[in-house]
């Protein structure tokens, strides 16, 4: 009897050992994300050939995104400043900096990053999501983590070793960036009322439809066309900035030349780009207050007031903003859209149709450390 038991135990041990060896030796599983689809009106997108969208990469990226282990003091995660319920912003003008005070820019919404500009951050300093992902981790005022120290921490975790192995292979900084990029690419918001309207599944109210028309129109008093001029910077379906070259960056008249921040010029060195910032998506804009790169406007009404009669002139101000005016008696002292209160309210009503409750509550995008996953 004892010999039988011993044999069985030995056999079991050999089996377990073999399984462990096999599990470690085999390559990444890399299951392509099967049911991936996006509205055709979003247009073309591309995923880096060396980082295809896989379930394993997404699962790893999601864990990393929500894990404070990514910060130097293990208290800050990506999700500290990018909350799903707020379309992955944090509701603050500027997030607190680790060394005290606040960060330079407002936390950006993360949605539909497969489309729109192929540069990231307000000043466009990263040219891929893989490059972007590691920058806040190492920024001394954001997550203040030494990347090599992070690799040591991640390698000490059986769970992360297994997740990296299945997604990519080794625990490396490059694979960390790839996984975070994959998770961010899958933050797709395409189920707002506007999306359902585009699919013919919902009707806009008269006010929302009025707002949509104003959103899409550059005003032209010569032909009595009234417009909110939004589409000159925010594309009609994505509502993000444009993808081509640097078309998705603009100076929208917030500051005079004397105090105009560098913006994109800090990256390109071209003085024609001074004060240019990334045009953000307007998806879920009703839940991403406060607004602008520095969060200076608390409400959508304040934003509309800015474009209506608060434009500040500077040398690189978009001529499309400078020139757009709904009032025919264009004097030199009136810079702005000069719309009626009803028109501004209509545009705001349309902006509310961009809120996507499915996206804001999708459990697959939520914190995997909360409850069962």
């Amino acid at each position: 009897m004892f010999r039988v038991l011993l044999s069985l135990t030995a056999a079991a041990l050999v089996f377990v050992a073999a399984w462990v060896v096999w599990d470690r030796a085999r390559g990444p599983t890399a299951t392509p994300i099967a049911d991936f689809s996006a509205p055709f009106v979003f247009g073309r997108f591309s995923v880096p050939a060396d980082n295809p969208l896989t379930q394993e990469a997404f699962a790893l990226g999601r864990h990393l995104f929500y894990d404070p282990i990514l910060s130097g003091n293990n208290t800050v995660s990506c999700a500290s400043c990018h909350l799903q319920a707020l379309a992955f912003t944090d509701g603050r003008a500027k997030s607190p900096a680790l060394s005290g005070g606040v960060l330079e820019f407002s936390s950006m919404s993360l949605a539909n990053l497969l489309w729109g500009q192929e540069r990231f951050f307000w000043d466009g300093r990263a040219t891929s999501l893989e490059e972007q992902a590691l920058i806040p981790i190492q920024h001394p005022d954001e997550m203040d983590q030494d990347i090599d120290a992070l690799m040591v921490e991640l390698r000490a975790s059986i769970k992360y070793r297994r997740m990296f192995r299945r997604a990519y292979g080794d625990v490396t900084a490059e694979n960390t960036a790839k996984a975070l990029a994959t998770f961010m690419r899958m933050l797709i918001s395409s189920d707002s009322k506007y999306d359902r309207y585009l699919r013919g599944k919902a009707r806009l109210t008269a006010q929302e439809e009025h707002g949509r028309k104003l959103f899409m129109a550059h005003p032209d008093t010569k032909v009595s066309l009234r417009g909110g001029n939004c589409i000159d910077c925010h594309s009609q379906f994505l509502t993000s900035g444009f993808r081509d070259a640097l078309d998705g960056f603009s100076n929208n008249g917030l500051d005079p030349d004397g105090t105009l921040p560098d913006g994109l010029m800090a990256v390109t060195g071209n003085s024609a780009h001074k004060g240019f910032f990334k045009v953000p998506t307007l998806r879920n804009i009703a839940v991403t207050a406060p607004y602008m790169h520095d969060g200076r406007f608390k409400t959508l009404e304040e934003v509309m007031d800015h474009y209506n009669d608060g434009i500040v002139v500077s040398d690189t101000l978009s001529p499309l903003i400078l020139e757009a005016d709904n009032a025919p008696d264009n004097g030199p002292d009136t810079i702005g859209l000069r719309m009626t209160p009803e028109e501004m309210a209509a545009i705001i009503a349309f902006l509310h149709t961009l809120t996507d409750e499915v996206f804001l509550t999708n459990p697959q995008l939520s914190n995997p450390f909360d409850g069962d996953t």
Binding site: G43, V223, E323
Partner: protein, 244 residues
Amino acid sequence: MRLSHVTLGISTAAILISAGWFTLRALPEKSTSITLTFHAEMGGAPLVYDQFVYDNPGGPGTFRVRDFRFYLSNLSVAKGAETYSEADSYHLLRFDNADRSHSITLTDVPLQSVETVGFLIGVDPEANSSIQPRGDLDPNSQMAWNWEVGYKFVVFEGALRIGETVSPVVYHVGFSENARQQSFAIPSDSQVDGDVQVDLTVDLAKLFNGATRIDMETLPSVKFDRTDAKDLADNYADMIAPKF
């Protein structure tokens, strides 16, 4: 014996057929590669951006160029009566690069040589009323206006300075009726061994000075007024020419 004759016959036929197949297949199909390089100029010199170096063509002041781009579509090349048309032929030409040029290459054009090239400045009505992305047409791009109108065909943005006053100049020309067909004979010396290189100039000055001479002070903006748009379209119809 008889069977082997049949076998031999079949084998011989098979060999002959396959030999013929491979021989014919190996015959070189005559094809041509053609590259069109468009050079943006202003009155004969390379285009300069962001500096007040140009005179208002029809009035006082100087102007600067911030943006200049346009759609070129329905590109075709021909030799005699034979024509080859590029599929999904929609090109956005922009010149904000170091050499102020934009190249389009057609490879494997099934013609022995190329004598003429033709294209539209603008977009054909069918594509202009569609939100389907194709070629460089992108309904989420800066060139999209809205579903009712279609695409901007030619965009010029800049500023006019008169004394100390700087004011914006914005010309967005669209509407399907403003697409303009152009065609040229290709210079005879531009073809070497099935490889055609053609240089063309895009003279932005022609946009402001043609059948209509533009005063940017009195016409700071062209968008949806159809008469203004037509005047600019008649001007830009002549802005591209082959370099000799």
